[in-house]
């Protein structure tokens, strides 16, 4: 998703500060909590984005929501964002923080698509192989897509390693329909 410059800057600031205070892991779980809370509640999303709601009201609401669940540092951060009238980008900030944390901790998110559900053993093997080739910690999300017909599709960031039957058939079709015919 597209993250605004401001959100990225807030996220970097939070990560740097939590690194200084040696509470990166704690902050991460706080931010993940904030992210999932906003993700789950449509009302909260609208509330935070609404220009009609006063910033002070947003600030109070946010503090009431998160006060008992997150650490002091994160709470202070949320308050800061709210008092700077930036509550609308809180979700983007948390997204951005997670990405920044992943680069910091050497974690990559890998998406795996297959026609049939992979067995736990297969997932485990795949993860080991991927961790070995990328030399990073892999968070693997596996999904099923029947239309792939067979094989695997692995998506690491922007790069796709496509070994599905569907793609093979498409390639074959392309080659056979290629309009430049060379007759010898």
């Amino acid at each position: 998703m597209l993250v605004s410059k401001a959100a990225r800057r807030y996220a970097i600031a939070l990560l740097e500060l939590s690194k200084e205070r040696k509470s990166v892991e704690a902050t991460l779980s706080d931010v993940q909590f904030i992210e999932s809370t906003i993700d789950d509640s449509k009302e909260l999303q609208i509330f935070l984005k609404s220009p009609i709601v006063k910033p002070s009201v947003k600030k109070e609401a946010l503090s009431a929501l998160f006060k008992d669940h997150i650490s002091d540092l994160t709470m202070q951060f949320v308050n800061l964002i709210a008092s700077k009238e930036r509550a609308a980008i809180l979700y983007q900030v948390s997204k951005s923080f997670i990405t920044k944390y992943n680069t910091y901790a050497g974690i990559i998110e890998v998406e795996v698509r297959s026609a049939k559900k992979l067995t736990e053993k297969q997932v485990k093997e795949l993860k080991t192989v991927l961790e070995k080739t990328t030399s990073k910690n892999v968070i693997l999300t596996a999904t099923e897509h029947e239309e792939l017909k067979g094989g695997l599709l692995v998506k690491i960031e922007d790069t796709v390693i496509d070994g599905t039957i569907k793609h093979k058939i498409e390639q074959l079709e392309e080659r056979l329909l290629d309009n430049t015919i060379e007759l010898n």
């Binding site: 597209l2 960031e157 922007d158 390693i161 070994g163 390639q171 080659r175 309009n179 430049t180 015919i181």
Partner: protein, 538 residues
Amino acid sequence: MSQVRPDEVSAILRKQLSGFENEADVYDVGTVLEVGDGIARVYGLSKVQAGELVTLPDSKDEDGNPVTGMVLNLEEDNVGIVLFGSASAVEEGQTVKRTKDIASVNVGDGLLGRVIDPLGNPVDGKGPILGKTYRLPLERKAPGVIYREPVAEPLQTGIKAIDSLIPVGRGQRELIIGDRQTGKTSVAIDTIINQKATQDSEKPVICIYVAVGQKASTVAGIMQVLEQTGAMEYSVIVTAPASAAAPMQYIAPFTGAAVGEFFRDTGRHALVIYDDLSKQAVAYRELSLLLKRPPGREAYPGDVFYLHSRLLERAAKIINDDGVAQSMNNIPDELRPLVKGGGSLTALPVIETQAGDVSAYIPTNVISITDGQIFLDTDLFNQGIRPAIDVGTSVSRVGGSAQVKSMKKLSGTLKLDLAQYRELEAFAKFGSDLDASTQAQLRKGERTVELLKQDVYKPLPVEQEIVLLKVNDVGLLDKLPVSGISEFQTQFLETVGAKYSQEMAALASSGVLSDEFGAQIVETANHVIDQLLAAKEA
């Protein structure tokens, strides 16, 4: 058509399938964030290059093919791509795939006689492009200084006024500029038709006509004219009609240049006509504004000068030395073994002005880039002087050195006569009140202007131009009334052609009009004039 045997079919299929690896395919993707006005913003595609082609496999255009696009903007967190197909088929969230192919076009000898779109696909319904093709990039750096030669060979347009007064040489860039409906395209088409004469010579000129933002009916008309005159055999038409998306109109001249470069770099001579660059500039302005690049003068982006200068720099006369030519910069590896020296690419860009305003942004830019301009004037056109070339403001900065000898000699006095005539033209209405020398000058000027008139699609071979100018030079035409000149021209050329076919052929190849033949020409002209005058009296 002969039948294909089933075993042949299976052999071909097996061949196609044999190279089919069992390995996984690796490619880079992104996601469409927003789309509109032929522009899409894409998230991801982090390794994509500027100018690279991308496809959107999830989208299907009218013909059922996936929409393609070209990367133009690389920004901090997104990529701006221009879509070559209909943007309505593209939706938010669709996948965008890299092709790892910088915008290129398949070029080969099979293109001759064909009409292609800016991506190199044939659009004339004559099936695929046959023969070996080479993939050449649309954007290629122009040859450097050491790979060039000064312009020295003529490119005959077959138009008397141009070949004598504003000559064009091979490798030159000569702008054709004028208002709408002044005959810009006709000058260009005449030039293409006139290259038919070169096809049997050692140095045939291959012609590329790039139609940008033209009516599709106009392009069809041009194709028909070229077919009827037999000029299509050595021509290629690149078309991005007015209905094509702005990116297509923007890249069309680059496609034309890539096709021309193929012939230039394989040691042949090519002529490319960009008709017209003002429409390309408008298409580029549209793209730039949609991509939110800052607008400058007349809302054109800052690099609109570079757009035209890099395109026109690719016109060149390549050094006549195969060894040096082969080390030329930016030659695709595939093409390098075929490279030969001595080729050329001549460019005739066309610019349309508004109400004769040559000081607008795009006209001044292109005037300063090119080696001269042919200025076509509405007033002259309406006075019946066609081609409506304003010889006062038209210039050719390098063409003079490429002119054939006799033509150069004759054009010197011609230029002077016309300049003096223009000065005195205002006094013409005083008629007999003027002194004898002024009257004589007016008389000669009128006839010269009449002689330089020429019908459309009727280019003249250079030897005929020379003999006509010779007759005018010695002042023989003064005896004739102005209205009798076109008739004289037809009869005279017929007589000369029949009587002195050998001498004319020699003149065509050497370009030198001997004194002896000159005298014979004058004698013949005298004879024809007397006949005409006698016929008129009777």
